[in-house]
Assembly symmetry: C3
Homo-oligomer: 151 residues x 3
């Protein structure tokens, strides 16, 4: 099954790529690598603010990460024009807005990682670092940046 069929099957509609809130661009291509800017968690189109281990539950953090993965796929689609041309999701950097006592950043990050593997199959299996940060722009609970390889 193709990538777009997978997305359809899951009821996922890729949103229009938002304009960055600051002086940078959503993605840059260098050789076969596409570097996608850090995307922050959103709910109803607005930053989804709060800290894991405080206002945000693990379940909500995972959902936020999954939502970012959808936004990242939108950026990839707009960058490449065709998600079938993604040869590999190479790497995620997953930043979790964390109370100093929260230690399950890897489970939050799974919300994004699992969706990418479901949609892209083997090509979606990626390297990853996840950790807890002191804050994220606009107070968002999660931020994820991505590197992908194109054919």
């Amino acid at each position: 099954m193709g990538v777009y069929e997978k997305l359809k099957e899951k009821g996922i509609i890729l949103p229009k790529v938002g304009k960055p809130v600051a002086a940078f661009v959503p993605w840059v291509k260098a050789g076969n690598l596409i570097f996608v800017s850090g995307n922050i968690a959103k709910r109803d189109g607005r930053p989804w603010a709060g800290k894991l281990g405080k206002e945000i539950s693990l379940e909500d953090g995972k959902e936020a990460a999954r939502g970012i993965a959808i936004d990242l796929m939108s950026v990839l689609h707009s960058a490449i024009g065709d998600l079938e041309k993604v040869r590999r999701i190479v790497k995620l950097l997953v930043l979790v807005n964390s109370d100093p006592g929260f230690t399950e950043q890897h489970l939050v990050a799974n919300g994004a990682s699992e969706l990418l593997v479901e949609v892209f199959g083997e090509r979606g299996a990626h390297a990853r670092s996840a950790f807890g940060v002191a804050q994220i722009p606009l107070g968002a609970c999660v931020e994820i940046e991505l590197v992908a390889e194109t054919a």
Copy 2:
């Protein structure tokens, strides 16, 4: 207008590249990509210490980020020999030493991003992630790492 003319017009003199404070090198080239080590904010040649949302104002944080962008250009110049050979500023990772309540890391980061676009034009438009960290070596208020592509 060329990159060096732009710098001159702005009154920017690229400093000599400092020796890293620890066991690493200022940059590594792999294929057409140049990976530049994280540079910390400095004032009068010394680490510019403090946290955003505490001792450091947004305006000073932006200024600190701008100063790092100048240092990063110095490293690129020493790595490549000619900044005109920069094909693209690919990506910045902007770490802001943040009080847990400070949420404007993206505005701090603009201090670096805007200067790079002013100096390099379209080639300076980059992908970026910015977030708040618990600390930075020597207490510096901002740290930035950069990836660039050469011709």
Copy 3:
């Protein structure tokens, strides 16, 4: 002296690569670059938990970083099959689980950087960013991700 002789001389035995604790893979190769996932500090096979500037001393933090470098070399060995084919250690991202007052992340990171230079010689000299984070999965005191270039 070759890489494996260097490791032997130092009494370092590369461990079996552990299974990631979450939905990602230990490494991805894209072109000549190998992206290795963030590895967390371990002691006696279990996460080495604690914060620098609190429960973990600088000396222990350095030791933890050195241990991660060994794990990262294991991953590279399993990815490439022969560490002699590493053309360059390109970049480390060193995350130090830090109390907000701890400012010696660069010294902690040296525990990894120095070992890589000792083992790989000039090919081991890498770019690097080190900073303090609010937390790390499973409470680990240090996490390091690595990019290497193969022949």
